[in-house]
Symmetry: D2
Subunit: 338 residues, 4 copies
């Protein structure tokens, strides 16, 4: 048994153990996200594309989307751990010249690993590249949630706030200032975990039956990427668990554009009544512009247009301007996810 055999298999075991810790971190996040998604299942807020108000959504849907993403990450991480769950005890160049293949078999079984079908002096490094790539993807998901929180905590939006411990001082200058520093920290940490991916890919092309260039890389990214992601996942779990949500502010923001977000549905309703899409679009567009420029309420403006009110009943109009109609399929989506 060469020292490479021992060191290489034990590196895999260390990675597997790290991977399992990350798995339990993700399980914890899933638990928290599920709890919070259900709590805010029907809490209305504005959905935004391009940072611009689009249509109503619920805060629970946002969380459910994160939940589903972490479910995918869990599956990927299980695959990644499986990829590196191999054992190689095959001698200096992988030929079993001076060691019986049964030793490998025996050790693999004892360590709950699979036998590496064919190795050089080391276990092939595409396996490890896969593992670190998956960490990079998980880091991307962490960043996605962190960015959402940072956006929602902006002064102008303020729909949500990171937990702020009793003893924690705010800005030394402005006592009321509560910065989403935990999520900002996660954004940076995501960059760090991501930065381990390229070196792990560069490690694949070792010379002949191995060169040892991968080793100094792995001594760095092995502990660093795993520990950083572990820290990030735990921190993310805490943020999601303890975040302070402001549903009232969410409603306020929803109403910020005074009904403009419902313009699409009015247009669709007019189309149903027999108008061409062009006509309907033009009509609604003009009102939308007017409301926007003069800061008027679209409901009021539409209500006073006799032509339109012949096409759309007052009851129907009320329904349109009620965002609960947007949530008729929330339950269906939740059933798909949870």
């Amino acid at each position: 048994m060469t020292s490479s055999d021992v060191l290489d298999t034990s590196f895999n075991i260390q990675l597997i153990q790290s991977g399992k810790i990350l798995l339990s971190d993700i399980d914890q996040i899933l638990k928290i996200l599920k709890k919070q998604a259900k709590k805010y299942k029907y809490t209305p807020c504005i959905g935004r594309s391009h940072g611009i108000h689009a249509e109503p959504i619920t805060f629970g849907l946002k969380l459910a989307s994160f939940y589903e993403e972490f479910k995918r990450n869990k599956k990927r991480l299980i695959n990644a751990i499986d990829e590196i769950s191999t054992c190689s005890i095959s001698g200096a160049v992988g030929t079993f010249a001076n060691i019986n293949p049964n030793v490998e078999k025996h050790v693999a079984k004892k360590l709950d690993l699979k036998v590496e079908p064919i190795s050089t002096q080391v276990i092939p490094r595409d396996r490890h590249a896969f593992y670190f790539s998956v960490l990079g993807i998980i880091a991307g998901s962490v960043e996605r949630v962190a960015i959402e929180i940072r956006h929602l905590q902006r002064t102008e939006i303020y729909e949500l706030q990171e937990y702020f411990s009793k003893n924690q001082k705010g800005s030394s200058a402005m006592p009321h200032k509560k910065n989403p520093i935990l999520s900002e920290n996660l954004t940076g940490l995501a960059r760090m975990v991501r930065s381990a991916v390229i070196p792990s890919l560069e490690n694949i092309a070792l010379w002949h039956e191995r060169d040892i260039s991968h080793s100094s890389v792995e001594r760095n990214i092995g502990p660093d990427a795993n520990i950083t992601l572990d820290f990030a996942l735990i921190r993310l779990g805490n943020i999601l668990d303890k975040m302070i949500v402001y549903p009232k502010k969410m409603i306020e923001n929803l109403n910020l554009t005074k009904g403009l977000i419902f313009s699409q549905e009015i247009m669709l309703e007019l189309t149903k009544s027999g108008l061409s899409r062009e006509q309907s679009y033009k009509m609604v567009q003009n009102y939308a512009k007017k409301c926007f420029t003069k800061n008027l309420n679209l409901f009021n403006v539409i209500s006073s247009d006799k032509f339109i009110m012949k096409k759309i009943s007052p009851k129907k109009l009320k329904t349109i301007f009620n965002y609960s109609s947007h949530f008729k399929n929330v339950d269906l989506i939740f059933k798909r996810v949870f």
Copy 2:
């Protein structure tokens, strides 16, 4: 149905089609590697670690190791294609506010896709990051083979040569000079495919229910990474198919160190005869140094040491210096792989 729904699903379909082309490229490589591995199953050559001669191996084993790696890549690519085989037709922010979820179901079925359980305005980008990460890993494997070929074609090693077409001129200055330019080209292309991974990971954290920053990235890496890898895989297949192997030179290189590569086994044999490991190591080390410095043949030197020859029979010694003993498990390894 919003234009995002259509564009986003059709991007996935394009990626899937690209992925399937890459899959068939890999199948072709697997076929060639299998053929060549079997052809060279027992062609002896030196195994090298750190670029230094270690122990005998067969050229077929090298190829079998590549085969197994591409088998893994095939599995990863199938998973990656599966990851992006989803369809989302869920409206402006994913709520199905103005579209019946059955439309999504229907279209998904028609297109042989799965329904995206929960989408925003777009299909979540961790899926695509996974796809491009897998391309990066495959590129790493391409580079590994390319580097091996470049090494083996070095003037001093010359165990192998890239195919050189009849009409192809060598260096304009030196007519005999045949450079492994195809494999060098692959080394560079691997860098390019790899460079798509980080942007794809950066694409995950879109703002709220989507921002469109991922789009300009995907319009680049979508075609570029796929086409580059397709080109690289086909080129690699051709190189492996048409390479000219020099088994005689492989034997010459094997014998370059005049038996020093068998020093380990003599030491082990001495240990079996009752000597301590330290004693055996010391004894063999001295002879090894002597041979190396004076350019002697280790077999001759050992044969003339009476003490050792009492411990090791002449027949046994011959066996030790015969590399075929190193190949007793080649068949076992081939059975594991093929």
Copy 3:
């Protein structure tokens, strides 16, 4: 003269020409930024750290900060062009074995290049890595401006809007929706230009007197990174030139926290009057919390505290709540920059 000599020098010439185009793009941006910075020199808006309101700033200061950054980028790009402005005509391995060094000198002079002091078969690739690194940094600056614009155009903030051409339709569903798609596009393009940096760094370590692995990389990133950045810079110039600024909305946002942003200065003023920092902080913090929770105006609340009003004169208090006091050094900063 070998073909490598010719090809390599002509690649440098191509890069230099690309670099000069980028330089003129940056000059254009500088011109626009200068114009706009002066126009909005004293246009008040809120300064934000962590996405949270901090202290007043002017919109001109934001632009001046970008201006200074692009001035640095210009200097870096000039250095980068200088780095690759060399010519090497030194034969197959750089020894001038079959060519007179005066040829190199002559050609260099004709092409307005410096002689490469020592070359292998090629010009050393650390020079090109420097060039592409600088493109990566410039892309980062493009992203910084783009992100600022995307933030300022958010529905809740709306201090600014990308130019929207007469014929350009907004969202097909919501006629009023104007998305910052140009800046989002730039964010993605920045990722692309950045992705060229690592391959260019990997190109440095060529084997011996050259291997050709760098070539396939450069055939990609040579045109792609330059053209992408050229496109991005021109687009950025247009955005900055034609952006629609809403100073009224900037003031509205400034007043959003009803004077809380001036809490630091009240605290400092109290300290000057003899109170300890702890006392002052505590006092102001309590009022700040009260205002924030009950949506009160800090000026009114402070004005009615007799204890404080003994320490701070009414006139002084008014000055504090007037952001123009924050702008007393704007001119100094402008003088430093322009």
Copy 4:
């Protein structure tokens, strides 16, 4: 003075101090390279392109090429240190609202820094991105030298060997086996330093007047990239200082192709005698192929061709097959470099 002002300026000071250590490391490498280049100025060895023998070179030229590259790196690093040698004490959003700009001036002078012309809450991060990019380039140069050493120490080449301390054991199995593990280690470390570049570029686009996402990145790459590169440079210096060079083996390798490397010059000489380039090429090519296939010496073969010997005098032929003619410009190149 805000805590950001203090922390941010002190981060720069730390980077500057690290940078200065790296500068002295580079100075040490330059000293060693100069010494060794002069020592081996006329030590002949084969120049290789594509890993294939090309034309003679001297080992000193290889070292001079590294010397020139590190000279460039020194200049880049000085620029990078200069880029981050700024001080910003400008308040919460960079307006000097509550602090006199003279404080900044005063502190800057005391700390031997320049005043940052315009800052937000922090010093702009394009400066730091430049610094880390330069570290990435230097790492690329380290890798270039390390790869050269690894190649030259290969069993088949063996022109050079890393220093091997008295107490250092070789491979536990093969006592003569001396692996270039230090240079392999450097290859991996280069990947690590390079991996800091992208995060530093991602740090540029902070939100508004700063977000703190850059901080967790810098707390990692600040110490890690600097310390890793410091370690790598010192190790590289030691390798270059203590390497064992085998000039005899270099000559052996030079002669490996039995004069084929001089085929270009024979062809050129024939051209001078009046033959067309096509004719000359064809003629030499045929002989080259013959020599290569039958393992003959090109000099002998050419000498016995009467037609050629009428065109080239025996004395001239001898000169052609003498590599010293290749070194006629070595001194010129050395004068350019040193």
